[in-house]
Subunit: 123 residues, 2 copies
């Protein structure tokens, strides 16, 4: 699978899971995984999902504007850089966001999220 197709598939899966079953994101992280969400740092799959499921909004919908990817080096990792809009239920205007993921290969031939940095770009 070529890197662009792989990152697109990951992004589709990540945000559809976020929008429909946020706690299901736990399978995409491992104990070494790091999340920086609006400057707040969290580490480990369970802590990360606790953070994501305790955000002060229940229903939301991500719409993706751009996806860029690059190989991250000899470890076989991949950097995925996303920009898009986040629509919160009950809010009139969507928020712009940027997010980067560093995907690392698993022994099973899949990928997990090693680094995750999220920022809102208030328009």
């Amino acid at each position: 699978m070529d890197p662009d197709a792989l990152s697109k598939a990951f992004v589709d899966h990540y945000y559809s899971t976020f929008d429909t079953n946020r706690s299901g994101l736990s399978t995409l992280y491992q104990e070494s995984s790091m999340l920086t969400f609006e400057g707040q740092k969290t580490q480990g799959s369970q802590n990360i999902v606790n953070k994501l499921t305790s955000l002060p909004f229940d229903q939301c919908k991500h719409t993706i504007t751009t996806v860029d990817c690059q190989p991250s080096g000899p470890s076989g990792g991949m950097l995925v850089f996303v920009s898009g809009n986040l629509q919160l239920a009950g809010e009139q205007h969507a928020l712009k966001f940027s997010q980067m993921f560093h995907l690392m290969p698993t022994p099973q031939g899949s990928f997990y999220v090693y680094n995750d940095i999220f920022r809102l770009n208030y328009a």
Copy 2:
């Protein structure tokens, strides 16, 4: 030097060089370095600087809003995620941008930019 201070120092150096002596950025990249600028891919220090110096604006000023960093894994690299404003000479409104760098250590104890992804977030 702690990672937050290191990434802040890198970001200050990178954007002040970009705004005052863009061709001087060549020393921050190596032959393996990759740049994706608004979806356009370039590789190698010289090609990257050729791309950056041929952008359709001469004078500009970056203002940084946020800097986040995380270690990228056992290779000793560091991910730096930046958001800010880009003011072009003669334009009334600044453009919002997001950019991520993957810094890799050199044998001399410094860092170079291995990955660089830049996107404008049109407000």
